[in-house]
């Protein structure tokens, strides 16, 4: 369930997935990471997100509508059930400032990097 970042670090091109639902895309800038996952048709109350140090865990369930007997299926490709995915980020996170947004079936989690690991601009003074 855990994915070690070292494996794909520095490989921005499409990498093979961890094989665990949901697939995740992660981007970063100097101050934060953004983790995105496609999770269509999920109620936000069925999503749990936790952060500890540099580890993010996203779990939840996707409920599918019950089927009636009068229905026959031509195609069934969409899956319901539970999921849990953990992701280890390359740097420690500021767990108190994590924000999550769910829109149009896409979950976006913004994870600020911990103060201690943020790249700092150092000005060199002329003596």
């Amino acid at each position: 369930m855990d994915r070690l970042f070292e494996m794909t670090w520095g490989e921005p091109a499409s990498a093979p997935t961890a094989g665990v639902f949901p697939a995740m895309n992660v981007t970063q800038d100097a101050d934060r990471y953004q983790v995105r996952a496609e999770l269509p048709g999920i109620r936000t109350e069925d999503l749990q997100i936790s952060v500890e140090r540099n580890k993010l865990v996203v779990s939840g369930k996707r409920e599918m509508p019950g089927e009636s007997d009068a229905v026959s299926y031509h195609r069934r490709e969409r899956a319901g059930g539970s999921f849990s995915r953990s992701l280890t980020l390359p740097a420690d996170l500021d767990a108190d400032k994590v924000e999550a947004n769910y829109a149009n079936g896409v979950l976006t989690i913004t994870l600020p990097k911990a103060e201690a690991v943020k790249a700092r601009q150092v000005t060199v003074k002329a003596s």
């Binding site: 970042f5 089927e67 999921f83």
Partner: protein
């Protein structure tokens, strides 16, 4: 449906060639459920990132075409990990039954399209009484 099963990851299938593209970028096949009852067909399609304004549903001569555009990710983002591609959704289906176009109902919520396609009402069976001569 029980939720004690774990969802298995199914990688997005990229479509090549068939889709006429209005924009640059990859095109993927949405996952669908299609069910049928006496009155019609119900199609559910996972199209995460698609908004109602960017979704087109076209039905002509029994060919149903779904196309959804998504917002391109910000170009200057630096990827740390990329497990899935982001692009438009496109899929076509041939329907066996005649669909009553005037009663089609489409709803899009949280990236899931719910499309109801009622069948054309068949001519009512008529009872023919035979008179005794």
């Amino acid at each position: 449906m029980p939720t004690d099963t774990n969802i298995q990851l199914s990688e997005k299938q990229e479509v090549s060639g068939a889709a006429e593209q209005t924009r640059e970028g990859p095109v993927y096949e949405p996952l669908v459920d299609i069910s049928e009852d006496a009155e019609g067909l119900t199609l559910m399609a996972d199209m995460p990132g698609v908004t109602p304004e960017r979704l087109t549903i076209d039905l002509r001569e029994n060919v149903l075409t779904l196309r959804g555009e998504v917002e391109a990710p910000p170009p200057n983002e630096s990827y740390v990990l990329r497990e899935y591609g982001v692009g438009a959704f496109y899929r076509q289906f041939t329907l066996a039954d005649s669909i009553d176009q005037s009663r089609i109902d489409a709803r899009l919520k949280d990236g899931v399209l719910h499309l109801r396609l009622p069948k054309v009402e068949k001519a009512r069976p008529r009872q023919i009484s035979v008179k005794a001569s």
